[in-house]
């Protein structure tokens, strides 16, 4: 059963088309991810579904209700966490949850909510006294204050260190296990891959692919990524002639301490011997070789020709 239905959604800000004819459905009980770089149109799409922005054209419905025309009913039954949203500086966590709960017909008590994200002992603290991870956990607790059927999380782990991020995934999974459907946006490949049942890959206002993470990766032309580290700068061009190599490029940028070439291949074991043979003939010494199975990052790269991080 689909709980969210988006049809031909368009949102323009002046000359800029932020969302360009997007359509998709979200099924009940799943964790649905929208993966894409900043500015791809993820947040705008989410906020239109939540009923806090108006679309230029197209329809969005939540639990069978129109996001715009029945926005009050929709808002009663969804929980929302906004990207980089703060809460009142001069209220304690307990008071904030109590206050936000009072906006809904149905509400969960602050104690229970704080318990669920292990912030019970911070009930009387102010938000500004929490760490980044604690703030995000609190923000998730606040998003389920009305015991919603659907939870929208916009970039829930942005700005967190990897450990805090993994920690937060556990809470998101817990909420999902309570039977709540989750729709989240992220620009972290790993987050989408680990957390989401289905992922929509979004770029420049359009969905470029939508499937389970496993299917997205399996449908790639390349199944492996091979990184070759050289002692000196090495042109990527010569590797393109090797059989099975789909793409070869030099890695540049400040985060590259040494000259590297990245290859994407469809069958690593078949390509590797001829690759190594080619390297032997070169004057530049190979220092390191590294192989990775393809991930959503490669999906994005193959579909858009761009790195997710750019």
């Amino acid at each position: 059963m689909s709980v969210i239905n988006v049809k031909n959604l368009v949102k323009k800000f002046g000359d800029l088309t932020a969302v360009n004819e997007i359509s998709f459905e979200v099924q009940q009980g799943e964790v649905f991810g929208m993966l894409g770089p900043n500015g791809a149109g993820k947040t705008t799409t989410l906020e239109i579904i939540e009923g806090i922005q108006e679309p230029t054209s197209g329809q969005t419905s939540v639990l069978g209700m129109d996001s715009q025309k029945q926005s009050d009913e929709v808002k009663e039954r969804i929980g929302v966490q906004l990207q980089a949203s703060a809460y009142f500086d001069n209220l304690t966590l307990g008071e904030i949850l109590d206050l936000f709960g009072s906006f809904y017909k149905k509400q969960l008590g602050p104690d229970k909510l704080l318990e669920s994200v292990e912030l019970r002992d911070k009930k009387n603290s102010l938000v500004k006294h929490l760490s980044g991870g604690q703030k995000q956990r609190f923000s998730i607790a606040a998003s389920v204050v009305n015991d919603p059927e659907l939870v929208f999380l916009d970039e829930p782990t942005t700005g967190l260190d990897p450990q805090a991020r993994r920690h937060l995934w556990e809470y998101i999974r817990q909420i999902n296990q309570q039977g709540k459907t989750i729709i989240l946006t992220t620009h972290y490949m790993e987050e989408a891959q680990r957390l989401c049942d289905r992922v929509a890959i979004i770029d420049m206002g359009k969905i470029v692919a939508l499937d389970t993470p496993a299917n997205l990766i399996n449908n790639l032309k390349s199944s492996y990524r091979i990184n070759l580290t050289f002692a000196e700068r090495m042109s990527a061009e010569i590797f393109k002639q090797v059989q099975g190599v789909i793409d070869a490029r030099e890695l540049t940028g400040d985060d590259q301490p040494q000259p590297r070439v990245q290859l994407r291949v469809n069958k690593a074991m078949e390509s590797l011997p001829s690759l190594l043979g080619l390297v032997e003939q070169q004057e530049i010494r190979l220092e390191d070789i590294e192989m990775q199975p393809a991930n959503l990052e490669d999906v994005f790269l193959e579909l858009t020709g761009k790195e997710l991080r750019d």
């Binding site: 922005q53 808002k75 906004l82 949203s85 703060a86 009142f88 500086d89 009072s102």
Partner: protein, 374 residues
């Protein structure tokens, strides 16, 4: 709704910066101006040098003595005899330690025809040209005093006399500077609080996406706005009370009119300036830009609308413009109530101006302030 209102009030009283602007800042004005004490009586100090004992006759010394005793009874002047010679006294005058030097010469003046050919005491006055007004007052007072003394000595009958009666049969109303200042400070305090405080809050809520977060709940944005406004009205009522108490108990300011009317006027003023706060908040991206923009608007009002002195003491040309600024009619009305004890009926023009401003600012505020910004 009740919960939201209580939460909003709690936030007001936990925000230290807003408490500073609400209470400490206006209180500083009251205390500083209160300590200046512009109303101190007998502020003119006269250095009296009596040289009669040096070489005068017994009768002459006695006459001088009588004069000095009588002179000291005139409460208006503060008399010091600490300077023994005329040179010392003149030096004190030059150093601005005294405003006046009065010398009783060592010997009587020569008999003159104007004086019925009798010797007499000719007092010498040294004054400073730059204190023209003080000099005139002191000279007038001295002449008056000498005339009385002369008449007493001559045992002349008085044909005319004066009996001063206060206007109202009961108490005498002595308007002090603090009575005039306090309504001004009230108006200034509630204005800065409403404009800068609210604008800073709103821009912070927008910057932190709190407004958007509220929009994602079923709460009607209008209810949030109303709760915020009410929390400000509570804060301003407390502010008015604290400032009135401070002015009254510390510096003896009097409210002659009805206290309820003072509160009602403050409420009207608060509504007017909260509208302005919404407008400023609409155009401010951050709390710091809200407070700069708020200051740009409130500062000129503070100086021109008569916070520290009634605006109608400005040059008439200026007042003809200034009287239409939003703070001016509010302060005029507050002073009419607190000093003259006016009722609301007597405030027609001021109330019309304040009401007009409320309508204008409300209109602009509803156009500019948007909860959702796409």
């Amino acid at each position: 709704m009740i919960k939201l209102f209580i939460a909003a009030v709690k936030m007001q009283f936990r925000d230290r910066l807003s408490l500073f602007w609400a209470f400490v800042f206006p209180a500083m004005f009251i205390i500083i101006f209160g300590l200046f004490n512009f109303d101190r009586p007998g502020s003119t100090t006269i250095a009296l040098v009596n040289r009669a004992p040096e070489s005068g006759s017994e009768q002459y010394i006695k006459g001088a003595q009588q004069f000095i005793e009588g002179f000291k009874k005139v409460a208006y002047f503060k008399i010091t005899e600490e300077y023994k010679t005329e040179d010392d006294a003149v030096k004190a005058l030059k150093d601005d330690k005294v405003e006046f030097v009065l010398v009783i010469p060592a010997t009587a003046a020569a008999p003159s025809s104007a004086n019925g050919n009798l010797p007499h005491i000719q007092l010498r006055i040294v004054d400073d040209e730059k204190n023209k007004i003080t000099n005139q007052i002191v000279m007038a007072g001295l002449r008056n005093f000498l005339a009385e003394v002369n008449l007493d000595i001559a045992k002349a009958p008085r044909l005319f006399s004066l009996n001063e009666e206060p206007l109202s049969a009961g108490e005498v109303k002595k308007i002090k500077y603090m009575d005039i200042l306090l309504p001004g400070i009230l108006g200034m305090a509630l204005m800065t609080m409403s404009v800068i405080g609210l604008a800073a809050d709103l821009s912070l809520y927008r910057q932190q996406r709190i407004l958007k977060r509220i929009l994602a709940t079923p709460l009607k944005p209008g209810i949030f706005v109303i709760a915020t406004v009410f929390s400000y009205l509570v804060l301003i009522a407390v502010q008015v009370t604290v400032l009135l108490a401070l002015g009254h108990f510390l510096f003896g300011a009097q409210i002659y009119g009805n206290l309820i009317n003072v509160y009602l006027l403050s409420l009207l003023g608060a509504i007017l300036f909260l509208n302005v706060g919404f407008i400023v908040g609409s155009f401010s991206k951050s709390p710091s830009s809200a407070s700069s923009l708020g200051n740009i608007i409130t500062m000129p009002l503070m100086f021109f609308s008569g916070v520290f002195f009634p605006a109608n003491s400005l040059p008439p040309v200026m007042y003809s413009v200034v009287q239409f600024l939003p703070l001016t009619p509010l302060l005029d009305a507050l002073r009419k109530v607190s000093i003259e004890g006016a009722s609301f009926l007597g405030l027609g023009k001021d109330l019309a101006l304040v009401g007009g401003w409320i309508l204008i600012t409300l209109f602009v505020a509803t156009r500019t302030f948007k909860f959702r910004q796409d």
